[in-house]
Amino acid sequence: MKIDDIKLQLYVDGELDKKEHQEVERFIQENFLAKKKVEEYRQINNLLFEKYKSIEQKNIPEETINLLMKEKEPFFKKIFNYEIKLVNALATAAVLLIVVTISNYNFNENLKNLNVQNKNSILNELSNIIGDENISTLTSSLNKLNIKYQTKKEFTNNANENCREILFYDFKINDINIDEAIFCGEKLIKLKFFKGSIKQI
């Protein structure tokens, strides 16, 4: 086995298997420079560990603990105006190619029906909020439902996927109103929704 600096480093950090560990141990017994190097590596480890180890349990700030204890924030507050941003953060990565701006949204014209895959993507994301159980009871009825939407924008992202930003017309799950979504390919990238009858301005 070739024993170089990297191997000595792995030895010090406990990253070698038993056999290799023993081989390095024998090697450093016979090699002064290697032994010195190992001691230096260990000294660095010990210095850094010793410096911070004593503080972890002392006087943990009360406000930080309270933050966790008081975390049971009202559901409404958390859900209101919430936007999810999944993979491929569009804001930073998207290259806008085609922008179809609809100045006056008229839901009575050119409405399309959401496909099953898109519905399921939205349901999957919402399952974290209203719970898997509630979602599963709704899935079949929602899949039968014609969910109307209109395309606000179409563009391609940096992965060269076709993306569309869509506006929903009267899409509700329990008391959650689904407002807008962005799909790239069939993947859900962003979802806007609000709870109850108060809509984001």
Binding site: D5, I6, Q9, L10, D13, G14, E15, E40, Y41, Q43, I44, N45, L47, L48, F49, E50, K51, Y52, K53, S54, I55, E56, Q57, K58, I60, P61, E63, T64, I65, L67, L68, E71, E73, K78, I79, Y82, I84, L86, E125, N128, I129
Partner: protein, 171 residues
């Protein structure tokens, strides 16, 4: 945040706090970083599927730290020094009065402060948090080989600088 994650977070807080101190090298800034990171964790709404919660938290702390550093540079504030830590009795090393050891300690700490963000976070995870290379690679989302190189590079810098300082002193 679900209850399971919340309990895990409560248990982890002391260790996370140590990591925050190790990154910032300052007690108050460390506590601020911990607090900011927990606020961020709590504001996440469980949409993102988190496979490895612990790795996720460590990564979030690292990213928050780097964001804070960038904001700091933008504002042209004075860089953090080890002063806040060295004056804190809780952080002092009491069990070794050897002068060479103390000298080496000062030198190493100074050089650690000058390590790049990537080298520093990697070194702290392995040496202070006692994370394995695999765990560290999961936290930082880089290959194990990169972790190995970063640790080696960090140690090389710390040791090189140490010997250079000694040479300069001798001359």
């Amino acid at each position: 945040m679900n209850e399971k994650n919340k309990k895990e977070l409560m248990i982890l807080i002391p260790k996370l706090r140590r990591y925050c101190y190790a990154l910032t090298n300052n007690k108050d800034l460390g506590d601020d970083l911990l607090h900011d990171s927990i606020v961020k964790i709590l504001s996440k709404f469980d949409f993102l599927k988190i496979d490895n919660f612990q790795a996720y938290i460590y990564r979030l702390i690292s990213n928050t730290w780097k964001d804070n550093l960038r904001k700091k540079y933008t504002k042209n504030e004075v860089s953090i020094t080890a002063e806040g830590v060295e004056n804190d009795p809780a952080l002092s090393i009491n069990d070794n009065n050897n002068l060479d050891y103390i000298s080496a300690k000062d030198d190493v700490f100074e050089k650690v402060n000058n390590l790049s963000e990537k080298l520093r976070e990697t070194l702290m995870l392995v040496t202070v948090q006692k994370k394995s290379y695999k765990e560290t690679s999961e936290i930082l989302k880089v290959p194990i080989g990169t972790i190995m190189s970063r640790i080696h590079e960090a140690r090389r810098i710390l040791l090189k600088n140490k010997s250079e300082t000694k040479k300069e002193t001798t001359i």
